[in-house]
Amino acid sequence: MYRNDPILIVEDNDEDYYTVARVLGKFGSFPLRRCRQGTEVMERLTDKEAAIQPSLIFLDLDLPGKRDGRSVLAQLKADSRFRRIPVVIITTSASPSDVRNCFDHGAAGYMVKPVNLDKFVESIAGVVKYWFEIMTLPAKVEGAK
């Protein structure tokens, strides 16, 4: 997992994208990519010319179009090429069934978008710390799932 690999943010809402991007900026200069629709994710990952290899995906569950976040998550985790990319859900849904389903499908984290910016910063800090500081230690990379 390298900081120079991009973080993919799948988010249709501009304010939310801006917030995630800005908060991530507090923890380093990560290259960011954005998808506004669920169907875009696989296209970007498998693009012949400019396929991206994200270090992390932030995925919103409620997306416009045919594929919502739940289906994108299932698609990624069912594909051996992308299964290892950690996917952190960022959503407004706090429904227990969504939380359970996402973890069942292999989500690496689940964040409910709070109105309180401080809480959000805390959560993002946790994600960054885990995936880019702890998980980047070479000895642990292989052992990690």
Binding site: N13, E15, D16, Y18, T19, R22, T92, K113, P114, V115, N116, L117, F120
Partner: protein
């Protein structure tokens, strides 16, 4: 072989075996010859016939009738016999002179022979046929005017008694169980009345009943007679005893004469009353002052009269039945209409006008509805009715249950037999204990005595049980613990009433159902609205909050301090808004969450809740009291935890005392769900505000007093409770404290009847 019952071996049980049509003997006031046809030779003769013809009776056998009587008379007799079938009741075919006496000759064919019965014409002289006819017409005219069957019978027995000058004439009706009942009586002064007495079925055994339908009038001019044997014993044409079923002179059973003697009867006449070809009853005439012969003509007139009575009693009774039927229909319609109008079913049925008592003939009635009982008339106690209903709900699957002997199936009923030996019950739904019941008392409570019931029974040598009073006692024994039976038409009417009520209920439920559906839909829409609104409202709110924060981050240095404060206020307010939206979301989720009832130890549940509130508890320094261990109940633990959590935090919050306490406990009342409560010594609530505290976001105090909060806690708590079918209410005294009570189910949650 004929079984002869003698006074020595009389026993009521052998009456049913006695073949009384093969009596082998006749009454002594007349004589009998049987003839073989077409020869007209004598096959059998009664012992006393010999004397009439001045020969030994055996000398008559085989003789041609013409050898004994006037040839012309015999010839006209033969002519009559040739053109007339003469089957059934004996008909007078001739009047003959023998031994200086006039005789009526009654003929009928039966048992392969021609019966000729010779009866002497009355010594007192026959009434003229004209007189008889006018008397008969008069009698019919009178009795026809009767309005009820009772009045009709009263008039009929009275007419017949004057007609034949007997001391007593009774109309006797056979009830469904075969027992007899003196429905009407005309008796001279000085004789004991038998009116209203009942007799057990054994008093008139089956063979006698059969003969009554064959031969419609039986007359014994002198009970104290010696039977005259028929010679030879057997009918030569059949080889068996002569069948005397139709013979007017047939000797009767010693059982019967014994019975009559014990009643002090010297002469009797009995007429058959038929209804639709079946034995309805009898008109029994008794004379208590010496033998009395009723002449043939008068008997014929009486038989005719009895025939009229037979015809008319059917009509009168049918009329009364159809009146009753019609009345039932009308009452049913009025009952249902009353219920539809008032909407108060049980009340209308028990106390309306008309009510259940106006429906079926009963002494009492009850409505059992949702465990509540409404009574009318004479009924068992509420507890007795409840246990009866409990028993019926288990043992009687039928929708309509009618019995005239409740004790025989439900022995407990013995204790209230005086009011309810008979029950007719209709049940509405198999799953519920909703019943309508009618009660009839034990028959013995309703039977009227005629005469003095305490008058000692006359003991006679022939056995005291053959007296009417002892018969009555015997009958009483047979109807102990029984009520008068429910008529088929009554059971049918009850069934129809049940359907009518169900239909009415169904109509009303449909109306309610529509209303409920609309309500439910609007509730669901409201919940969906709350969910979507709060969910979608959050998105822009988040934007506003974040931008105000970013502005602060990016431009704080360029802004005046008051501008910075405004931006901070903006961020704070958006957060407040989020809290409100969260509460709304939560509230809408209360009715969406799946409930998973498990058996919860409330002690553990409450202790977990207290743990989660430990910071607030220690801050407020409140004393938490649980006076006695809480029960186990089957409930969704998450839900009840939240109710406790909301109520306890509320109790902690709204308290300005220096020594605060919160008490958690429960109250149990039999038959009611366990009531849980959270009590505090807090600020209390003014009575006028009691209604508003459950309104969402309604706060009685400023948001900064008493620690703030969104004002949704109680609303959510009550919604949870309601979702479980329970309810929540408050008792409160301002300045002293409040108690929040709640139940988690509409019926037994705790104790023995966990039935959630």
């Amino acid at each position: 072989m004929a079984t002869t019952v003698t006074a020595k071996n009389v026993d009521l049980s052998n009456c049913d075996r006695e073949q009384i049509q093969f009596a082998g003997a006749i009454l002594p006031h007349g004589f009998l010859l049987t003839l073989r046809e077409p020869e007209f030779t004598i096959t059998q003769a009664s012992q006393n016939a010999g004397a009439v013809f001045s020969v030994d009776v055996k000398g008559l056998l085989g003789q041609h009738l013409a050898n004994l009587m006037d040839r012309n008379q015999v010839e006209s007799l033969r002519e009559r016999a040739q053109r007339d079938p003469l089957d059934g009741a004996p008909t007078r075919v001739a009047i003959v002179h023998l031994q200086g006496k006039e005789w009526n000759v009654l003929a009928h064919r039966h048992d392969h022979v021609l019966f000729l019965e010779f009866e002497p014409r009355s010594i007192q002289g026959e009434q003229s046929v004209e007189d008889l006819h006018s008397e008969l017409r008069g009698a019919i005219a009178i009795i026809q005017k009767a309005k009820t069957s009772q009045e009709f019978l009263d008039l009929a027995v009275d007419r017949i008694r004057t007609f034949i000058s007997f001391d007593r004439v009774m109309a006797y009706k056979f009830l469904e169980d075969g027992s007899g009942w003196v429905r009407s009586e005309s008796v001279i002064e000085g004789q004991i009345a038998y009116l209203g007495l009942h007799f057990p079925p054994s008093d008139i055994p089956a063979p006698a009943k059969r003969l009554f339908t064959l031969s419609w009038l039986r007359h014994q001019p002198d009970i104290h007679y010696s039977p005259v044997p028929i010679i030879p014993e057997n009918n030569p044409l059949t080889g068996g005893p002569l069948d005397l079923s139709y013979a007017v002179l047939r000797s009767v059973s010693v059982m019967y004469t014994g019975y009559l003697k014990n009643m002090g009867t010297d002469a009797s006449m009995v007429m058959t009353l038929l209804k639709n070809g079946r034995l309805w009853g009898l008109i029994a005439c008794h004379h208590h002052s010496g033998p009395k012969h009723v002449p043939y003509e008068v008997r014929a007139a009486c038989e005719f009269l009895a025939n009229m009575v037979s015809l008319l009693i059917s009509e009168k009774e049918d009329l009364e039945f159809s009146d009753y039927k019609l009345g039932l229909k009308n009452t049913q319609a009025a009952l249902v209409e009353g219920m539809a109008e008032s909407g108060e079913f049980a009340h209308t049925l028990a106390n309306g006008s008309p009510n259940l008592m106006d429906f079926l003939h009963a002494e009492g009635a009850a409505v059992v509805n949702d465990g509540r009982i409404s009574l009318v008339g004479r009924t068992p106690s509420e507890d007795q009715i409840l246990s009866l209903v409990e028993w019926m709900s288990v043992h009687i699957p039928e929708e309509v249950f009618a019995t005239d002997s409740l004790v025989s199936v439900f022995p407990e009923a013995a204790e209230f037999r005086e009011v309810a030996s008979g029950v007719l019950a209709i049940r509405f739904a198999a799953t519920k204990k909703d019943y309508l019941l009618w009660f009839r008392p034990e028959v013995l409570q309703t039977v009227k005595w005629a005469g003095d019931p305490h008058k000692p029974v006359d003991i006679s040598d022939d056995g005291e049980r053959l007296l009417p009073r002892t018969s009555f006692a015997l009958w009483k024994e047979s109807v102990r613990l029984k009520s008068t039976p429910w008529l088929e038409l009554e059971v049918q009417a009850a069934r129809e009433l049940r359907l009518a009520i169900l239909e009415l209920v169904l109509r009303q439920t449909e109306k309610l159902g529509d209303l409920y559906k609309t309500l439910e839909r609007s509730h669901m829409e409201l919940d969906a609205f709350a969910y979507v609104a709060s969910h979608d409202l959050k998105e822009p709110l988040r934007g506003i909050h974040n931008y105000s924060r970013f502005l602060l981050e990016d431009c704080a240095e360029q802004l005046r301090s008051e501008d910075v404060e405004k931006l901070r206020a903006m961020a704070r307010l958006t957060q407040r808004m989020e809290d409100l939206l969260d509460s709304l979301l939560h509230y809408s989720r209360v009715s969406r969450n799946e409930l998973r009832p498990t058996l919860c130890d409330l002690n553990k549940t409450v202790s977990d809740v207290l743990d989660s509130l430990s910071v607030r508890i220690s801050e407020s320094r409140a004393d938490i009291r649980v006076p006695r261990p809480l029960p186990n109940i089957e409930i969704d633990e998450v839900s009840i935890s939240e109710v406790f959590s909301n109520l306890i935090s509320n109790a902690l919050k709204y308290n300005d005392k220096t020594e605060k306490w919160v008490e958690i406990g429960f109250e149990e009342r039999p038959g009611a769900p366990t009531v849980l409560y959270v009590r505090d010594n807090g600020i209390g609530i003014e009575a006028e505000h009691l209604d508003t505290i459950f309104v969402i976001f309604r706060r009685l105090h400023g948001p900064k007093d008493f620690g703030g909060g969104t004002g949704a806690g109680l609303t959510i708590a009550r919604k949870i409770v309601q979702r479980h079918g329970g309810s929540m209410w408050i008792e409160s005294s301002p300045g002293i404290g409040s108690t929040f009570y709640f139940t988690m189910a509409s019926q037994g949650i705790g104790g023995g009847s966990a039935n959630v």
